[in-house]
Symmetry: C2
Subunit: 464 residues, 2 copies
Amino acid sequence: MLPQPIVEQLVAIVGESRLLLEADDLQRFGVDRTTLWQAAPCGVVLPGTVEEVQSIVRLANQYNLAVVPSGGRTGLSGGAVAKDGELVVALDRMNQVIEFNPVDRSVKVGAGMITGQLQQFAEEQGLFYPVDFASSGSSQIGGNIATNAGGIKVIKYGMTRNWVAGLKVVNGAGDLFELNKGLAKNNTGYDLRHLFIGSEGTLGLICEATIQLAATPLESSVMVLGIEYFSEIVDVLTCFSRDLDLSAFEFFSQQALDKVVAHRGHAVPFQTETAFYALLEFEHSSPDVVDKAMELFERCVDKGWVMDGVLSQSLSQAKNLWKLREDISETLWQWQPYKNDISVRISRMADFLGEVDQLVMEQYPDFEIIWYGHIGDGNLHLNILKPEVLSVDQFHSKCANVSSSIGQLLAKYEGSVSAEHGVGLLKKDYLHYSRSAVEMDMMRSIKRAFDPNHIMNPGKLFDC
Amino acid sequence: MLPQPIVEQLVAIVGESRLLLEADDLQRFGVDRTTLWQAAPCGVVLPGTVEEVQSIVRLANQYNLAVVPSGGRTGLSGGAVAKDGELVVALDRMNQVIEFNPVDRSVKVGAGMITGQLQQFAEEQGLFYPVDFASSGSSQIGGNIATNAGGIKVIKYGMTRNWVAGLKVVNGAGDLFELNKGLAKNNTGYDLRHLFIGSEGTLGLICEATIQLAATPLESSVMVLGIEYFSEIVDVLTCFSRDLDLSAFEFFSQQALDKVVAHRGHAVPFQTETAFYALLEFEHSSPDVVDKAMELFERCVDKGWVMDGVLSQSLSQAKNLWKLREDISETLWQWQPYKNDISVRISRMADFLGEVDQLVMEQYPDFEIIWYGHIGDGNLHLNILKPEVLSVDQFHSKCANVSSSIGQLLAKYEGSVSAEHGVGLLKKDYLHYSRSAVEMDMMRSIKRAFDPNHIMNPGKLFDC
């Protein structure tokens, strides 16, 4: 329960209709896409300006009230969960285009802008926002930045980090920072912008962002290839990426395909069934690029790596092939999956996967495992489906054990326990497998500097 | 003078021949390309391993000895100057390729590797290291990272920051950090790698770097265009960048061209003399790209922006045209220039330049000014040549006054007082024009966390 004096002061800042205290609002704004924690915020406040955000953070400092920043709440690691009486600060109303400049090819937007709307806006200007992923229809750009969102185009365009030319943030002390101001070159000391990118709301609230836009990509083609052995997916990737400028290289397992086909009614790409499928995309940078792709396809068939394949002959066929990959994540929600979002260097992936596969077979003999991911970035999504017979708690506790084993393997392979989903609540116990003790010390020092009273998203990323 | 106990312990760490105490060595290792400060280090030590670097930093902490990291000493802001009895730690011996991986397209190198050698190595592997600038033949990769070096390909390939996939650093406390380990995706909290990039040796010493390499670029063509008015260079840039994937867009003034032609014996690009020249480069991504470039050229001529132009017809002609731009910096050294390396957003450049031009005419009526720079990144190099009648000190003090006026203009235009050269000693008094008081506070807090005894490159970037 939010004490009355705080209620009154929040209402004075944002107006009565922008402070939500009803149970269903608390429930809705207190969770992300994870299902492991119960929402229990003390209130939800919806500021409309940067100044209102500053006032809210100063008030929170005064009352030592924990703040959870909230975007589209599509996160998969519990980073936006408010389970301990925190105040949720939702950026939904700060969703405008503030300034578009065609010469700079950049757009300044409020943090609450939906990712898909930014993509749409860029398209209307004859430009392109290249960060894309399954939840871009509801995720917000502020949350994308706070988690350095990745997705399906990283192999060519990089993570969200690459597209942030400026940030307006309010730190945990309520101070306003205008970072980098949209400049292409700015070597004036430590780049604090990059600290906020991926900080998961633990240093402050992202209020506005200046986003660099790219040129509209050329027309592209999509290929889906059937591959029997995991290690050969890496061979195929190496073969294709040497000679083609790939804009995506994804993979999924037969099990993933089965689920998507059964639940979404999509057609299979071809009749041959193989253990794995690679989906690759390339832009038509020159007229002979399709011939080159066919030549590489044949080379991979001759090597015995690829069993069958299809090349899109139209934009609509390309879109349909993409759905086989893009719809996996949403399809799996009904099984309340435990998601491992891990990465290693591409060159180590085949060995790493061999060991993970063995570990999973030993430790999850009864669980259904669905593999897919962004193999071109060394990023694997290992989804474990909850058996009906287990409660959420039982399931989570079993998965947590295996996560430790996977963490140990990741430490051995110098990999990451969170490639693109962030750490939040879900991964913080495994963070030490990827980050050393001295790194953790420095992260805590940085947290103290930006958030001296420790009110910003406490308990996320690490415990202080 | 380095006290005897420290000499003995340093010799025990690196061996006698790797501790330099002779006057000419102290002179050589105590300066960068600036000429404003006198070298006065207490010694120069040349470690050969990361462990030796750690031992040196721990020893320095014990004796409260200031440390200046030293790379190729090609810096232009005094970041590597040792003028107050510091110990110079030169990374020259740590210049090996440690590991190359063709699947990851990455190479791990010692921080002392010369930039040009890295470019060469990449080329030998059929790959490409895209960061390039006038001093790449002697600058070192560690120094490039510490200053986030830019150069002539930033418009397409970005700064050094974009190519650093991993860093091995020793912070000011002597702790070893292995940051990001070459991963493409790694969202596990604050990305400390990005803090070290551009930190100018104030947080620690960069020992090794994992560098991402790019695909070999396609063949490219170069155009030089004669343009009479500054604002129209921006019009030409906007016109070309909308329809062509530019890999460079540079400019220089008639005065710069005159100097290069006179001192290097290069041919002028064409007979028409104009106040400014734009040099642009584009890769042949499709066969009609040259036709497109010619069409854009004609459009710019029709608009009255471009007076004359030349398109390279061969690789050697392209190289010769590039020399007109690339040789400017070296040509100007004989005048001991005071270098302003500033940036604003491209869309604000024309207005900004109008004001700078007026300011410079008013405040430097007798000085010779040479303009050139990376206009495609909003980055201008304003070089003020020292008149023979003035001493270095007199000249510097006059220039410093004007720098304050330019700083005020930059603050108004939300620009940067150091686009790509870094802050070092030269710009620290002007840093507040680009970074706010709260940003400075956070930078100092971060400095304290990584360098608790304040031994790393003290007095550079800011005073603590």
